[in-house]
Symmetry: C2
Subunit: 341 residues, 2 copies
């Protein structure tokens, strides 16, 4: 049974098992440093669909099917699926997953969604409410650009602090530890974050808007568990990019928890900074989902990485709220993944 540790952290006693994971990405992501890690790369980022939104749905659908296949399950084996994305009314998830016939619980945490879905899906397994659950998110550069910023045809110039929404999806299948004792990777804890708003209004600088939320959640976790950054092999945020990551490191150092030697960020990892100029790095639910669901979970499965804190960071704004003069509230959710020794 789960128990509360400190004020904010849920500790999983049974260590819900990661049974399968998969990632699907677009062309640009396949040309990045982790191009060979992803399960499926699409050179045609329409995925043969008639709109960018349908292409994003397809990304999510393929990620779930691949994760199921790799874990040797069918969709009918999954008790609940937790999914979300950045599009209005989460249509990538609903249209991408409607054919699966799995009880569906839509989640919205902007780019924190992968950590949110993983945390809740783990609790469902841990509590006994489910034997197997799935967590999935996606993003698509072209659907995000036209919804949040400008139509691609406009060719708007991006500022140096802007991040590049990844065309990517990632899915994880989780299972009850009582049935899957030998699965190498499991979930040890989750810390769900509080909304944090420092008044940042620049929608081209999401990293700055989200870094304080990431710091809050990380500090909550360290306080609750009595641990330190050096107790972990990797503290992986997604996606603060270059600017937000530096800010997070600075805030954490100021607060006595220096993370910079173990901290990396999915937005810094997914593209090659020199060869692929995306300014402040990658972003989008799919960015952290694909990095987690390929290099990280692969390295955890083979024992190269043992203790990983995965912190999804989300900017909880909409174009409407920004046009109405609002600041950008941030949120960050943390899950602690551990591989068996």
């Amino acid at each position: 049974m789960p128990s509360k540790v400190g004020k904010y952290t849920i500790q999983f006693q049974t260590n819900p098992a990661v049974l399968g994971f998969a990632s699907v990405v677009g062309k640009k992501e396949s040309e990045g440093p982790y191009g060979n890690s992803f399960d499926q790369c699409h050179n045609d980022t329409t995925l043969g669909q008639q709109s960018w939104e349908k292409a994003e749905s397809q990304l999510q659908n393929e990620a779930v099917h691949l994760a199921l296949k790799k874990a040797n399950f069918q969709s009918s084996d999954i008790d609940f699926i937790f999914a979300g994305d950045l599009l209005n009314q989460c249509i990538s998830s609903t249209f991408g997953l409607r054919s699966l016939n799995i009880p569906f619980l839509g989640q919205y945490g902007a780019c924190s969604t992968m950590a949110q879905t993983l945390g809740i899906a783990s609790l469902f397994v841990e509590s006994g409410a489910a034997v197997r659950t799935a967590a999935v998110t996606s993003s698509h550069f072209c659907s995000a650009e036209r919804q949040f910023r400008y139509p691609l045809e406009y060719g708007g110039q991006r500022t140096p602090t802007a991040q590049w929404t990844a065309t990517a999806a990632g899915a994880v299948i989780l299972g009850s530890r009582s049935q899957y004792k030998t699965a190498p990777v499991g979930l040890q804890a989750a810390t769900f974050g509080r909304i944090t708003d420092y008044g940042i209004k620049d929608v081209s600088n999401m990293g700055a808007a989200m870094a304080p939320a990431a710091a809050n959640t990380l500090l909550d976790f360290f306080n609750d568990t009595g641990t330190n950054p050096q107790d972990y092999d990797l503290i992986l945020t997604g996606d603060l990019g270059y600017i937000g990551s530096q800010l997070l490191d600075d805030i954490m150092k100021r607060d006595g928890k220096d993370i910079h030697t173990v901290h990396n960020d999915c937005g810094k990892m997914i593209y090659d900074r020199k060869k692929q100029d995306v300014h402040a790095g990658g972003s989008g639910c799919g960015c952290s989902a694909a990095i987690l669901c390929s290099p990280i979970l692969q390295q955890m499965s083979t024992g190269q990485l043992h203790k990983v804190l995965f912190i999804g960071t989300g900017a909880l704004m909409s174009p409407t709220s920004s046009q109405q003069g609002e600041s950008i509230p941030g949120v960050a959710h943390l899950v602690y993944l551990k591989s068996q020794p």
Copy 2:
């Protein structure tokens, strides 16, 4: 601990307690049949805010504060808050609740969101991950009209099958039964639905798009629990309106579970059909939330109602998906509320 009953239903062993509830509505809702039941009625539906979106955030904020106050809690007493709404990127929830400093988990189930948040919030309490949780949703006629349909200034004519988005919010505070033994109302079970799409494309007939999902979830629950409609005092859907409710009754009768003597719908209840012509009834997350959080939970608390199935129904579309020719997928989530004898 929760356990799975049948294929789809989660049974709560501890019967998580309803500790408080509150509703906040606009002028039109205050003039309906349940106008005297709501905790707070606003004659000025701007709530003194500068935009309809900010007004909707305010509705949600007030509903949570009233529910906390009625239950004698402060926001720091709540472990997690589950919230969602119909606006792009769920901004009513994020901006309405950002000042609360409660760990925030955004939910998206369109108009099924109140049942979804209640079900997940109950599981968090039941599992021991939380002592107290909150569930809240909202909708606002004016923010929904301009986002999903036309600007109000356009004065578009509504078809007879159209439903009227309620300006309303409802919030529930849940608590662990071990600490709150005498609370009269509790949660017995939850059945989370699968996405159901019968190919309906008429965005002015949401009731028809959602009725099959409601039927699926209800039939799942009856099959899983071996119970019948007559075992309950009330089967309350929200919000199918007049047309969707008739369709649901027809489908259920065809499938051997005649519900019409115990079935009512929040969309049929919130407005007076004769005096307030809203065509096919009310809709919006806030409609079912306000009806549940006022007349229904009041009647359950005083013993007038004992066994209630509350089924939130959502249409998982966006204006973009409809403009791209997509049909309207539906989903329905059920929670079983029971008052102590």
